[in-house]
Amino acid sequence: MSSASSTTTGAAKPSSTRANPANKWEAAADWTDGRLGIYSLAKANLRKIFPDHWSFMLGEICLYTFVIIILTGVYLTLFFKPSMAEVVYNGSYVPLKGIGMSEAYASTVDISFEIRGGLLIRQIHHWAALVFVAAMLVHMMRVFFTGAFRKPREINWVFGFLLLVLGMFDGFFGYSLPDDLLSGTGIRFMEGAILAVPLVGTYIQMFLFGGEFPGHDIVPRFFTIHVLLIPGIMLGLLVAHLILVFYHKHTQWAGPGKTEKNVVGMPLMPVYMAKAGGFFFLVFGIIAAISAIATINPIWAYGPYRPDQVSTDAQPDWYMGFSEGLIRVMPGWEISLWGHTLNLGVFIPLMIFPLVLVAIAVYPFIEGWITGDKREHHILDRPRNAPVRTALGAAWISLYLVLLIGGGNDLFATHFHLSLNSITYFVRTGFFVVPVITFIVTKRWCLGLQRRDKEKVLHGRETGVIKRLPHGEYVEVHAQLPQKDLHTLTAHEQNQPIELPAQADENGVARKAGALTRTRAKLSRGFYGEGSQIPKPTAEEHHEITSGHGHH
């Protein structure tokens, strides 16, 4: 846009006023700039600063696995036939010879055994998908526990959340495509879940499947959703997510020289081009190597789908595991009303499933409302310095893990020699109890770590050197921390709970706070009240102790 002036004012002149380029590369850049304005764009971004920390690269793992999935996915579409027409297998895999199956299944077996490298690409696609969703979850947890979702990044948090949910569903649709015994069982579950929806369930089922289960339409329809609809939306969200990351600039940990008004790190060109660009190849290389050594989704061994056949260990891929847990441990409630049936055994888990996810998605807005904090935050919180948030996050993770155990209850039973039924009862109880225990333990743990930090700041670091004092006492020598460490350990803010407005105004007229305000004040006390943070050491305390003598 800066070059716009030269072109508009130069309307009368035949050429630009720009000095002659030094070489043909510069000439090419000038040409492009005249059309796309790349210089202005590059000015802001070429030396853009990124802070160094491994946890800031989790998002890159997501981005790169997504790219890998798209590359390998395009290759797979060249050979996969999304059709449910019946064929008789006559390929090289002996245990399936002469068996009737859908074209979708037969073409997937052919990709695995007849197309050179097809098995590798299939395995890369699937392993990358598992890692993609796992990396998104870990990335989200990193953002959560460091408070990086706070203003101005709440919307980007929501974008990221939507990417996670879409990634989960796209994975599920992909898992359903090969029409093998496992994926067909997954689709069957989906059908049952849809039927459990009151009022419109049967209609949705008929429209989605083009008739009764399984019909001949579901694989081609899922194919379009899997390769076009969801990835298209994800691509858009991904671009928006990245634009916002650039626009907001990255968050950073507290430390010497790091403030809310700067970002300290190394420039995009050259360091991060090499590091981030190189990391793409590292990720791709590792996923390729894993695909060389470990089988994933051996559809040839599952056999083709038939609605009257099933194999035990029928589970979805891990990211749907917590919903599988919900479904497995739900008691079989069903109610009949005026000749209608409401299958609560399926419908309740179906409703809790989005709630579990939404609980974490809306957290930034809830925290923002409770704390009343309207400022921008670019310095990350150490998890211990936000004990309530950290404890809530840990409770959420514990709930997720309990449900994962529920989702794999049969394998836990066989491999730990336990009773399937006992595990289910445990998960039913654990669903309510474990998050509470985790919350309490984590919060206390955080407070303990805060106390330790305080002690380190005031008394210094334990050196391991034992000294004997003249009167015979043994003491360990403590060394004062350097100032940069003192600063880092005390850089966090300690908010105070919001106060209720005075119960009576200046004229003495009683003014009662609304229920919402009172709840908010109560929650705020829970976040920042006495039992929720250890007061930071003050300069006076530090001075008193360090100037004192004989202290160790």
Binding site: G265, S291, R306, P307, D308, V310, L344, D410, A491, E493
Partner: protein, 354 residues
């Protein structure tokens, strides 16, 4: 730090960057530490070594790519080799994956090693600016918007506004209407199965899904498990998948004195009970039958049914018993059904009457 909700959008931590340590405050920010050189920054030999390492990685990548192409051309896709500890694996998959992995990894490793050892590692700060615009800009934009809105007359000319809203609200309906032909209406489809074609006058034989032959009661011994489908259905039928998704039967024989439910006993034949194989939870084929306890477990979600007690749900998320098909024998002595299930099979749905 007092927490005041001031207008300051960027909270100032105590002490700011670059500020020389304030002797009164031991916690003040000492500012960015000075850059310390790496070996490669001060020792040209170390730098040269790093350069060679980076290049070596790129060369290994090149060799690996050549190896990839060679493997693709040379290795037979059916070839199986033993590789410890993986077992007997496809030679092609292993070779392609490993060479591709190395080729990619080495490019990445080379680039990162280059950045870490030879590119400048001086950390530098970059200024941040609040995302929020200044009040001046804000007011300006709002003013512009108001002008634009006034010029459009959107608020004033209510007829235009209302008709526009109306047309915009209606036009998506076309898209919704277009979805109608995605599938048929449910009607009675889920309420009945292929067994409805059986009548007392013209019964349908139960065909053993292993032998594809009708069965006689004496074929089924106590403690055995057999799967069956209606006669006339074959696995190559166009609609086999839809039919078997509802018609599949699980036949067990329980000593009559062990059957607790009288109605169930009557629906069966001499202790042979024909239950729907489709779970009433979400429709998995339930058939993990324990012949001593008479429990049948679903492998998908562990709903457990007591087949000796009318397939009552004794555990798990299923909401109602497995439907049971009434069976008897025909004049040839084969097991037959004379009608459909009394209740719809498979998962519950809204229109299902209990």
């Amino acid at each position: 730090m007092s927490h005041d909700m001031s207008e300051d959008k960027l909270p100032e931590p105590h002490g700011s960057a670059g500020e020389v340590a304030d002797h009164g405050n031991p916690f003040a920010d000492p500012g960015l530490p000075a850059h310390e050189p790496r070996r490669t920054d001060i020792d040209e030999r170390a730098a040269k070594r790093a350069e060679r390492q980076v290049s070596l990685m790129f060369v290994i990548s090149m060799i690996a790519t050549i190896g990839f192409i060679a493997s693709y051309v040379a290795i037979d896709p059916d070839r199986i080799v033993y590789i410890f500890p993986l077992g007997h694996v496809s030679a092609l998959n292993f070779a392609l994956g490993l060479t591709l992995g190395v080729a990619l990894f080495m490019i990445g490793a080379g680039a990162v090693h280059w950045a870490r050892t030879l590119m400048s590692d001086v950390e530098m700060p970059s200024e941040r600016h609040p995302i929020e615009a200044s009040d001046e800009v804000r007011n300006d934009v709002i003013e512009q918007f108001k002008t634009g809105a006034a010029e459009s007359g959107f608020g004033r000319r209510k007829m235009i506004r209302n008709t526009l809203i109306g047309s915009m609200a209606l036009v998506p309906l076309s898209g919704v209407v277009l979805l109608r032909d995605l599938g048929p209406l449910p009607e009675k489809k889920l309420q009945e199965t292929g067994w409805r074609e059986a009548t007392p006058a013209k019964p349908l034989a139960l065909v053993n899904m292993s032998t594809m032959q009708p069965m006689k009661p004496e074929d089924l011994v106590v403690g055995s498990l057999t799967f069956a489908m209606p006669e006339g259905l074959t696995t190559h039928d166009e609609d086999f998948q839809q039919r078997i998704a509802k018609d599949a039967l699980m036949l067990v024989r329980i000593a009559p004195e062990d059957i607790k439910d009288d109605k169930s006993k009557d629906l069966g034949f001499e202790g042979i009970l024909a239950y729907s194989k489709i779970c009433t939870h979400v429709g998995c084929p339930i058939s993990l039958y324990e012949q001593q306890t008479h429990h049948a477990l679903c492998p998908c979600h562990q709903s457990t049914f007591d087949l000796a007690d009318g397939a009552r749900v004794i555990f798990g998320p299923a909401g109602h018993p497995l439907p049971q098909l009434k069976i008897t024998t025909d004049d040839k002595g084969n097991l037959v059904a004379t009608g459909d299930f009394e209740k719809p099979v498979g998962p519950s749905f809204w229109e299902r009457a209990r």
